[in-house]
């Protein structure tokens, strides 16, 4: 087995190649903008050049003269769409700022007009020719800008329930033997999936089909229906493949209903492919954050006091915050904890979730501070984590369903050869290069949400699975196919998987790393229904206890925990007994503790996510330990990362091959968050400066050397039927801190503001 397809350890499935591999290497995989349309009109967006103010009017003379222009839509003539509520407020949208509603401008890059033409080229030319006259006001760009307001997150954001707190922080910190106080800062970042924000809308009578990359086809379908004021059953969203998302395609953006409305008015399909630059402002982003951390500890390393206060930027109308204190206050044993999150409102587009939304910025702060504490204690940073490891979260004492943090540290440290690290900063060099080793903890909440699936089994063993999940590079096709094959005992080649279509049974948003846990648990449950039907046919006279049901199976080596008790079943005999050739079952699954209205909400495209720190009597997280080697050139200050090692434990691993790839991508994302990525803001105009792939730095191949992913075996029977914790966002948590900790070790300079670029080094 090759490195890219690791040998499965205990409680891991087979590393089979991706279900969609052939489609993806031949160009046959059809992404939204690839779907052919009959006689489409092409739309181009015109976006605002000011951040705050009003549109006084348009000069469209030149634009209208462009050959092939069909329509120019502005707030003066656009259909008045219904309001879009924020997803975190029971709605579907990533922003409540609705373009083309009024003359008001709320942020730069807001859509102010849509030009539609016979060709893409004409639409582009006319969009460039549009003149917009504004009365501009002075915008507030970010922290410290005049005119911003700041208020606690608690009370303004339904999803932010509490500022976790326990014991008496002030007293404990005052009495602490060793103290660390430091402030940290993370920049705005944009997801920049390779696939652009595209939307094609096709009406057939009063039914609408939308081809759009979405992490949540059910949410988009319901959201657009609401905005258009039509029945959700009349809307269908299709995306068999999504070209990367990372959170950017999770909630509805204003463009979709606008394009749908224009297509209806023109009586013709309309296709939009927004530009890369427009993607920076017509969707969400990861907002900049600030943190103050205070840690008090005993000389032996035990934490006695922890305080984490943070500020996040959001837009004027929307109180969005990621609020990562729910994680950072529960990670280590500590009797006295205090926290607070505030939202600072500025004239910006509304931020949203981006891969590990809370953990990337908040764990950067905590895991940097832990390293500073290790230095103050003169203690090995791995040992500091060991001393403070805990089986119960300290805020309310709930037990972790499983926690393999130190197993990750030990296996990671061994692979990295951490013992070769000499503890003193600046003590390891090679020629002109200063070498540093750093580490940090990674963690991500285990989340699940209700889903439904349809499974059809034929007499010849062929299986068809339908579930409206999304393939965003997470391996959804593959793991769903594996779950069904294992549960039904058929070879995986016999399973066809249908996802990415809102006409299929609902699945939750492919976000919060819940996808595999939710969809596979559901598919397993529905496969059980199929087995049950067949079993009953074979043993029609006997009544079955639940335990007996669990032992009916059709053979093949199972890897999901719930399939491991299954026993072969004679398929042909069972079908003969039933007198049919096809068995098809539809079923719904919801995680333990899901609220009463979960299923109703599910069909309305609203997710009732369960898990993480918000479970009743337990807490569920996946863990990892990350080790980084940096090399800093003494003369040029160039920073290189020759090695990244991450060891991760996340319950059942459906497929070690796809899991490794996802975690590897995550580690590279984490490195990028430390050294590359930042959206630069021109604070005078509250405007993004580097809104393109040449200036917004993401890693390229030459930036990445050795990346070693270790899958640590872990079994957790307390989370969901699939036993899966979710890994899509685990890999890039803590990496930024590990990189900065390594830079400190190499140079003796502590960097508390991301990203770290060579000009910030003063060695």
């Amino acid at each position: 087995m090759s490195i890219t397809a690791p040998e499965p350890k205990a409680n891991m499935g087979q590393p089979i190649p991706r279900y969609d591999a052939a489609a993806k290497v031949t160009g046959k995989a059809q992404y939204a903008a690839d779907v052919p349309l009959v006689n489409p009109a092409y739309a181009c967006l015109v976006t605002s050049s000011i951040a705050k103010g009003r549109i006084d009017g348009f000069d469209m003379t030149a634009a209208k003269q462009v050959r092939g222009v069909i329509d120019i839509v502005t707030h003066e003539n656009a259909e008045q769409l219904k309001e879009a509520k924020l997803f975190s407020n029971g709605g579907y949208a990533g922003t409540t700022i609705q373009p083309l509603k009024s003359a008001d401008v709320a942020h730069t890059g807001q859509i102010v007009a849509v030009v539609v033409a016979e060709t893409f080229e004409a639409a582009q030319q006319a969009a460039y020719a549009m003149k917009v006259n504004y009365t501009a006001a002075m915008p507030s760009a970010t922290f410290d800008s005049a005119g911003t307001t700041s208020a606690p997150a608690k009370g303004q954001l339904a999803q932010f329930k509490e500022d976790p707190k326990v014991g008496d922080f002030a007293k404990a910190f005052n009495d602490a033997e060793i103290k660390v106080s430091a402030a940290y800062e993370t920049p705005p970042q944009h997801h920049n999936p390779m696939e652009l924000f595209a939307t094609s809308c096709v009406w057939l009578g009063d039914s609408l089909t939308i081809y759009e990359p979405s992490q949540y086809v059910y949410g988009l379908k319901n959201g657009v229906a609401e905005q258009l004021g039509i029945d959700a059953d009349k809307v269908r969203v299709i995306n068999a493949y999504v070209g990367g998302a990372f959170g950017s395609k999770g909630s509805m953006t204003p463009r979709t209903a606008i394009i749908a409305s224009i297509a209806r008015r023109l009586g013709r399909p309309v296709k939009l492919v927004a530009t890369r630059a427009q993607g920076f402002t017509i969707a969400t982003f990861r907002a900049e954050t600030r943190h103050e951390i205070q840690i008090g500890a005993r000389r032996d390393g035990h934490l006695t006091a922890l305080r984490h206060e943070s500020w996040e930027v959001s837009s004027r109308p929307d109180p969005y915050a990621v609020g990562g204190t729910k994680t950072t206050t529960r990670l280590y044993a500590c009797p006295n904890i205090e926290s607070r999150v505030s939202i600072v409102r500025a004239d910006r587009n509304t931020p949203g979730f981006m891969r590990s939304p809370p953990e990337v910025p908040y764990m950067f702060a905590l895991e940097s501070a832990m390293d500073e504490l290790a230095v103050a204690l003169n203690m090995d940073p791995v040992e500091l984590r060991r001393v403070n490891d805990t089986a119960k979260e300290p805020i309310s004492g709930k037990p972790y369903t499983s926690r393999s943090l130190m197993a990750c540290y030990d296996q990671g440290a061994r692979a990295f050869e951490w013992e070769k690290r000499s503890p003193q900063p600046k003590s390891m060099t090679e020629g002109d290069w200063l070498i540093g080793y750093g580490c940090a903890t990674s963690c991500y909440p285990t989340q699940m949400a209700p889903a439904a699936a349809r499974v059809r089994l034929q007499r010849d063993g062929r299986v068809r699975v339908e579930i409206a999940g999304q393939e965003i590079g997470n391996g959804a096709y593959t793991v769903i196919g594996q779950a069904a094959a294992e549960k039904l005992g058929v070879p995986v080649e016999k399973v066809s998987v249908f996802i990415g279509d809102s006409d299929l049974p609902p699945a939750p948003v492919a976000g919060g790393s819940n996808s595999t846990a939710s969809t596979c648990s559901t598919v397993i449950k529905v496969c059980e229904q199929v087995r049950q039907k067949l079993f009953e046919a074979l043993t029609s006279n006997e009544s079955l206890t639940n335990e007996a049901k669990g032992t009916v199976g059709m053979g093949q080596t199972p890897s999901t925990p719930s399939a491991s008790n299954d026993r072969p079943l004679d398929l042909e005999r069972a079908f003969d007994a039933l007198g049919v050739s096809v068995v098809e079952e539809y079923g719904e699954w919801k995680p333990e503790g899901a609220p009463m209205d979960s299923f109703q909400a599910m069909y309305k495209g609203q997710v009732r996510m369960v898990g993480g720190s918000e479970m009743k009597d337990k807490i569920a997280y996946a863990f990892g330990a990350e080790f980084v080697e940096v090399r800093v050139n003494k003369w040029t200050h160039e920073i290189r990362v020759p090695r990244l090692v991450g060891a991760f434990a996340a319950g059942h691993i459906m497929n070690p091959r796809t899991a490794r790839s996802q975690l590897m991508g995550g580690l590279i994302w984490g490195m990028s968050s430390a050294l590359h990525e930042a959206t630069e803001l021109d604070e005078r105009y509250a405007r993004y400066v580097n809104d393109n792939l040449a200036d917004y730095l993401v890693p390229v191949n030459a930036d990445v050397s050795d990346v070693d992913v270790i899958l640590v075996a872990e079994q957790d029977d307390h989370i969901n039927p699939a036993g899966v914790k979710g890994i899509g966002e685990l890999g890039n948590v803590g990496t930024n801190a590990a990189v900065c900790n390594a830079i400190f070790h190499a140079t003796g300079q502590r960097l508390r503001k991301l990203p770290v670029r060579l000009e910030k080094l003063e060695i």
Partner: protein
């Protein structure tokens, strides 16, 4: 991308063939303008008037009537149904649109379709023969060299050129010469493994 000296002499795709191929078509003025010549009378004619273009794509001739400003990428995607080549930026910054022209890797978003006339264009759809994957495609499957798959057609076309250019001799060389293709899923180590595997298979093929 790489400079001229890196490429062996062969069926050229240079500025001269660019202009030579375009001369005599309705779009000559645009090309001349781009090359810096002052606009003659034709330069004022409406550039949005469609022109007839004939392209040799994957060994088939495609005749199109398109806006003269249509990029090769948009010609492929919007006018020939070949949507395997992807648009990730439209600005030559990401590599998702990479195709081969006369064997060399070219960013189709920075290439006007009219200029690609008379050249041999190969896209991702033209690689597999009789349903059998090209060694580079097979290597991408074997090494799990993608996640979302959106950058993959461009990576594969670039990978083939990288091997043929002689830039797949070491992992460092592969990393360097594959750095024009961004993979936001960051499958980079697997892409290196795939190019390495395919380089071996492609040289075996040549020998055998």
């Amino acid at each position: 991308m790489t400079n001229q000296k890196d490429f062996p002499a062969g069926p050229g795709f240079n500025r001269r063939t660019f202009i030579g191929a375009a001369a005599g078509t309705a779009v000559a003025p645009i090309v001349a303008k781009a090359a810096g010549a002052s606009g003659g009378p034709a330069a004022t004619s409406d550039p949005s008037l469609p022109v007839d273009v004939s392209l040799d794509i994957n060994s088939a001739t495609r005749s199109l009537r398109i806006d003269a400003r249509t990029t090769l990428l948009d010609a492929l995607r919007e006018h020939t149904g070949l949507t395997g080549s992807k648009k990730g930026c439209d600005h030559g910054q990401c590599g998702a649109c990479t195709v081969l022209i006369n064997g060399r890797r070219v960013l189709s978003c920075l290439t006007l379709a009219v200029v690609a006339q008379g050249q041999r264009i190969v896209t991702i759809e033209g690689l597999a023969e009789d349903g059998e994957l090209h060694p580079m495609q097979q290597a991408f499957v074997d090494q799990d060299a993608f996640q979302c798959g959106y950058c993959t057609p461009g990576q594969i076309m670039s990978g083939i050129a990288c091997v043929r250019e002689g830039h797949a001799g070491s992992d460092d060389a592969i990393r360097e010469y594959m750095s024009g293709n961004i993979c936001r899923c960051a499958a980079y180590p697997n892409i290196v493994a795939a190019v390495r595997q395919a380089a071996r298979a492609m040289s075996d093929e040549q020998k055998g």
